[in-house]
Symmetry: C2
Subunit: 477 residues, 2 copies
């Protein structure tokens, strides 16, 4: 018997959330570990999930006027060092190539942790006039960051992502772009991944190395920890000055370009798992599910059952991504696998159903069963998938709201973390010293200064001085 003949039990998330996560990514066949510490193999089911997220995001990136390009994996060390803040942020976690074949290289080469400096050098050589602007580039690629502790999808030595890099004539254009792409990310996350987001600014301490400001979308996982889902950075003219990216404006004056960059990574798959999953495994939102409907024949050895099941598969294939499990495993085993993989709908069809001219639709999100006449299933199924999509979002939003608390002093702050961990809304004076003290004392970090501000109290939660703004805080992935 093959290992594949068993679905092993997974740890309950209440007992050990980290172990639950590890069990799910393994049992649902999403990843395996690579040979080099901290690298991961993305298996067929995990990669199909990524392809669906990627394709939707790629569609929206193109729809907003961007074109895809591909820049090299390798960056000379001297080029990385051109922008001071940037190199300080990234150099400690760079993988260095020192030899090509037998030859020792004259200059070390960096395996890209991100590609700002390559795009900047390109822009410097290729932007001359206002007519060349805006330049709206995106690339899908792998990047490497030499992390000490790693976990599949959440933090790995190598991950997949897209990185957008744009150059604009005016500050306003770049600022609009930064927000436009944050909104694209927000749309993909909320409307396709069914994960509700908080939009806001990163603090000075947490912003991207080299950016003027960073916008972020933040989400809350099942265990009350936050996860940054996507960021969009406004660079202003900082990189343009370091790399001499100038253009001749309409009045014949040399001007620096205004730049942005923005990225989303395979860690979104981690968010998907930790927002929707449960103790039976994954729960995948229909819009990005590689398999939306799995047909499980019951008593398939009986005459006519498999024929009917395959007919149903062919019929439903026109309206959904549908598959059939006609293997010789027991239905109970197949049900477990459907749940582990998180297929939105399981369709059962057996001799009794055929007799009654019906099928059974079983929702993964609620476990509810529906008996649907065969001739109505084509009408019912798309509506059901939409209901599931909406329900997953609503559930996640409700969960986030339940786990969002207000703290007006550090005692409350700590108590919330101990008793009901989640997002903490608290006022902040704007001083990095308070931000650092909070992190040191509680391990919670500032997640964002939300666009939608509320005045939850008068004074900074940490120092008690006059508050400038409300901040979302949480322990985070």
């Amino acid at each position: 018997m093959s290992k594949k003949d068993f679905v092993e039990k997974i740890t309950a998330m209440e007992d050990d959330f980290a172990q639950w996560y590890t069990d799910v990514v393994k049992q649902a066949q999403l990843v395996d570990y690579g040979s080099v510490r901290g690298t991961m193999i993305i298996k067929p089911y995990g990669f199909a999930l990524w392809e669906n997220m990627r394709d939707e995001l790629d569609r929206q990136i193109k729809e907003t006027g961007h074109t895809n390009v591909y820049f090299p994996l390798f960056i000379p060390e001297s080029l990385l060092q051109k922008e001071k803040d940037h190199v300080e942020g990234f150099a400690p976690e760079v993988a260095w190539v020192t030899h090509g074949g037998d030859e020792e290289l004259g200059e070390r080469i960096c395996v890209r942790p991100t590609s700002e400096v390559l795009f900047c050098e390109y822009y410097s050589n290729n932007i001359h006039s206002y007519r060349d602007l805006p330049m709206l580039y995106n690339q899908w690629s792998n990047v490497v960051r030499w992390e000490k502790t790693t976990r599949p999808f959440l933090r790995s030595l190598e991950f997949l992502w897209q990185e957008g890099h744009t150059a604009h004539a005016a500050h306003e254009d770049a600022a609009e772009e930064t927000e436009r792409m944050l909104n694209v990310y927000n749309d993909v996350c909320e409307n396709h991944l069914a994960i509700p987001m908080i939009k806001g600014y990163k603090t000075e301490k947490e912003k991207f190395a080299g950016a003027k400001y960073t916008m972020t979308i933040e989400s809350l996982m099942h265990d009350g920890k936050a996860l940054q889902a996507g960021t969009s950075h406004l660079f202003g003219t900082g990189f343009a000055e370091a790399f001499d990216i100038q253009y001749l404006d309409e009045d014949g004056n040399q001007q620096y370009v205004h730049q942005t960059s923005w990225g989303i990574t395979t860690r979104l798959i981690g968010a998907l798992i930790m927002v929707h999953g449960d103790n039976r495994g994954l729960v995948i939102p229909p819009r990005i599910a590689p398999t939306q409907v799995m047909i499980v024949p019951i008593a398939q050895h009986k005459e006519g059952v498999l024929d009917k099941a395959y007919d149903l598969r062919d019929q439903l294939a026109k309206i959904a991504r549908v598959d059939i499990d006609a293997s010789d495993k027991m239905p109970g085993w197949k049900f477990n696998e459907c749940e582990m993989k998180g297929y939105p709908v399981r369709v059962e069809i057996g001799p009794k159903d055929i007799e009654k001219g019906q099928v059974v639709l079983v929702r993964r999100d609620t476990g509810e069963k529906e008996f649907v006449p065969m001739d109505q299933v084509e009408e019912r199924l798309p509506a059901l998938l939409e209901e599931i999509q909406q329900n997953l979002f609503d559930k996640a939003l409700k969960h986030r709201e339940e786990k969002t608390s207000v703290a007006t002093n550090m005692e409350e702050f700590q108590q919330i973390l101990d008793e009901k961990p989640g997002f903490i809304k608290a006022m902040w004076c704007g001083d990095v010293a308070c931000e650092e003290k909070i992190k040191e004392d509680t391990m919670a970090t500032s997640r964002c200064i939300p666009f939608e501000q509320e005045k939850v109290s008068e004074a900074c939660v940490c120092c008690g001085k006059e508050a400038k703004e409300m901040v979302y805080w949480a322990r985070a992935y």
Copy 2:
């Protein structure tokens, strides 16, 4: 004025083919050079070409039952060394990572030149029973080979490709798979890229490092040099023995799996350029053209012209990938750019055409003009695109046939290379000594032992001993 306001003249291919190639890739905005020697930036137009090839190939890879995965960029040195022939073939051109951040690594890490060893290790851990087979994986990724001399697309330090890796229960299954994927490549190249191919086996000397045999599709460029467009390798059980990849068969016996791998790379873009291009620039086959139709308004300042041109764009967008150049450049400049970019059809529309209720369709491949009544253009255009697609293939096939010669001795062989370089069909005794002598004396290599054999003479072209088979020879990229 911006650099983009000029289309610079390109070198004629008759004068200097290599320079013509370099001029075209630069002027048609396909690539730029990266900062690390031998790396390339694939610009929007070049990447859009790659996306179209990739999407068609990906569709066929999935249609033939394969799933996409993603394996790590990094391979430990010890793992690379597990299969003797394989490491000998690749180690000399590997880029080595020796440091992660400030830490010196205990073992050097190889940046993948290809991923056989990673897939083998995975298969060794994940294949247990005959029920796990076949395992049909593919990945789209970047790979690095430390080449001494490089040229955009044709030979670069880093390139993009797909690599398929499969494991099967029986030799016949693996052999069928090897041929199936060669046929998929052949279909994409002939029917989408319009490049005719010769299918055959590589010789022992030219086969993939670690393979039992390698199948290849070979094409002929405009200058009479050959280019290997895609290869498909049968491994037999060689890797399985080195990596201990065994499965329990239906009778309860342990068996080694039979493996294949197959790949196609961004160098196909180089083939596309050198097969269809001419002295005015690129010529792109309609099926993979990012822009199939470019509308150029004539006298666009006159009332109604731009409106009509945009209406036409909207109308044609339903049936083709269409764009409009409504910039303030002169029509002559726009025509030149259309030719440089190789758009299959240019549509001209001006005041006189509007008066007559017609548009002008200009073919890139032949330069022919057609005046088509406005109400027939939707019918005419798709047919015209198909004619162009077919004509490009026919022209390339005719060209290849004209440049394919037979040699029965080395004098003829050398004379052909001097006077009419192209494919040389010549008999071979099967001895690697002759193959090496031919390469040393003429710089021509064996391209393939074609599936379709002909007996063009009795004796080996080199040593005069009894011939075993007919071989295609050529100088090659």
